[in-house]
């Protein structure tokens, strides 16, 4: 579903991604871990075109988002194609990014109506189903400011799912939450994993990564140091940097 090859990203003179390659298959759940500043968020943001890459190639669900020409300059698909390709991915941010002027229900149905042109009557039952799934049906008329962090993040997940994506990207979905609220969000993500949603999750929750991810990717200094099945990576990390990081985390 995700096919990234030799992705390079520079901010001014700083090379933040230095040749990242990763494949994520259908139904796979991949966790990305690594120290702060290692480029985890940047990589995720490159996948859905929130950042543009300087070199490399990205394909999403069989369609080419960006590829390198023979002169190694990368070429993006036309704008309309980019939007269509990126719409196959939902994204959940650390700070939720809910729309504060809209109620929970309005947050969820906004994009399906505005972008997909669905009628209200079509999407409201879907939205209600998603809210029931994340356990927030009774909050549908509330504004986001009335919700706890964990509830906000579950609304954000429901909002992304309402666009019926094939892939979900999570960028530290629990890092802005009080510890006692992370459980409810992780439970929601775990349920998605059980439904075989393809997911790429940047997280600092090692226990979660070990339990839910089929593969864990350790990034450091803009590179993937190792990417292996969760159990293997946690029990016997190959690289000294991975080992040092994991020891620090526990």
């Amino acid at each position: 579903m995700i096919h990234a090859r030799d992705v390079h990203k520079r901010f001014a003179a700083v090379e933040v991604l230095r040749g990242v390659s990763l494949d994520v298959g259908k139904g796979e759940v991949v966790a990305i871990i690594g120290p702060s500043g290692s480029g985890k968020s940047t990589f995720l943001r490159c996948l859905n075109h929130l950042e543009t890459i300087n070199r490399g190639r990205i394909d999403i669900a069989g369609e080419t988002l960006v590829s390198a020409g023979k002169d190694a300059v990368c070429r993006y698909a036309p704008e309309a194609d980019i939007r269509r390709i990126c719409r196959r991915m939902g994204m959940v941010f650390q700070h939720f990014n809910l729309f504060p002027h809209l109620t929970v229900l309005q947050n969820i149905i906004e994009a399906p109506i505005t972008v997909k042109g669905l009628r209200r009557a079509e999407i409201v039952p879907v939205a209600e189903g998603l809210l029931r799934k994340v356990g927030l049906l009774d909050k549908q008329a509330s504004y986001p400011s009335r919700l706890s962090g964990g509830q906000k993040q579950r609304v954000a997940i429901a909002r992304a799912l309402a666009m019926d994506p094939d892939i979900m990207l999570f960028d530290e979905p629990t890092s802005a939450l009080d510890p006692e609220l992370t459980g409810e969000v992780l439970r929601t993500i775990r349920e998605l994993a059980e439904e075989h949603m393809t997911m790429l999750v940047v997280t600092h929750e090692m226990a979660f990564a070990r339990e839910v991810a089929s593969r864990v990717v350790f990034m450091d200094g803009g590179e993937i140091i190792e990417a292996r099945p969760a159990r293997e990576l946690f029990s016997s990390p190959e690289h000294a940097r991975t080992r040092a990081f994991l020891e620090n985390m526990l």
């Binding site: 859905n48 929130l50 939007r83 990126c86 719409r87 991915m89 939902g90 994204m91 941010f93 700070h95 990014n97 809910l98 729309f99 504060p100 002027h101 906004e110 994009a111 505005t114 972008v115 997909k116 504004y143 986001p144 400011s145 909002r159 992304a160 666009m163």
Partner: protein, 217 residues
């Protein structure tokens, strides 16, 4: 009291002129100001620079001077020179001037919206125009209500500047009667009229603020 009723006719006529200038300016300058603000934040350097220069010019010179220029000097400017009658000249000057102030209010409001809102909309597939219309501008509206209320109340009082084009607005009408009858009563009545107009605006804006108070942020 009977004197107040006697002078009511010309004062009401003056109020009509004042209200016309006010309403036309407001209705035209708000969209123009929004357009200018959108150009300024669009990232087109040349256009943005032009808008900056325009705002500097309009805020950096007196409105009265701008009005006098459009009425007396514009007819002699090559190419764009047109001779406007007094009322249109006043409206053009007011709209051009107030659009600059409104543009700055809109710009500050738009820039106060968190980048996460744009990204949240973007990953849901909304285009830039959809993001602006559905996500950003509704939130901007709430945030700019206080400065808009200020500027709008200032506009009511600024309308009295059109006396320089010899138009009979509320204040000039009052002054005419004062000079004729040697009494200051017309001034007091005019003050009451201005207060009434600004009260209506204040209450209107308060209502809007209450309406938007249903959400925080």
């Amino acid at each position: 009291m009977s004197y107040v009723i006697e002078i009511m006719g010309p004062l009401l006529e003056g109020t009509g002129v004042t209200l016309q200038v006010f309403l036309l300016t407001f209705v035209l300058a708000v969209p123009l100001g929004l357009g200018l603000a959108l150009i300024r934040i669009s990232g087109f350097a040349v256009l943005g620079g032009l808008v900056n220069g325009y705002i500097w010019l309009m805020r950096g010179t007196p409105l009265m001077l701008q009005m006098l220029f459009i009425y007396f000097a514009l007819p002699f400017v090559p190419v764009i020179g047109v001779r406007l009658p007094d009322f249109p000249a006043a409206i053009v000057a007011f709209v051009l001037n107030y659009a600059a102030y409104f543009a700055e209010i809109f710009r500050a409001g738009i820039q106060s919206i968190d980048r996460g809102q744009y990204e949240g909309a973007r990953v849901l597939g909304l285009s830039y125009a959809q993001t602006m219309r559905r996500i950003v501008l509704p939130q901007v509206l709430k945030r700019i209500l206080p400065p808009m209320s200020n500027e709008t109340i200032t506009l009511v009082k600024d309308t009295s500047l059109i006396y320089v084009l010899a138009m009979n607005d509320l204040l000039r009408a009052a002054r005419g009667i004062v000079q004729r009858d040697f009494t200051t009563t017309p001034f007091i009545v005019a003050a009451a009229f201005y207060l009434l107009m600004t009260l209506v605006l204040t209450l209107g804006f308060q209502r809007l603020e209450r309406k938007y108070a249903v959400y925080d942020g």
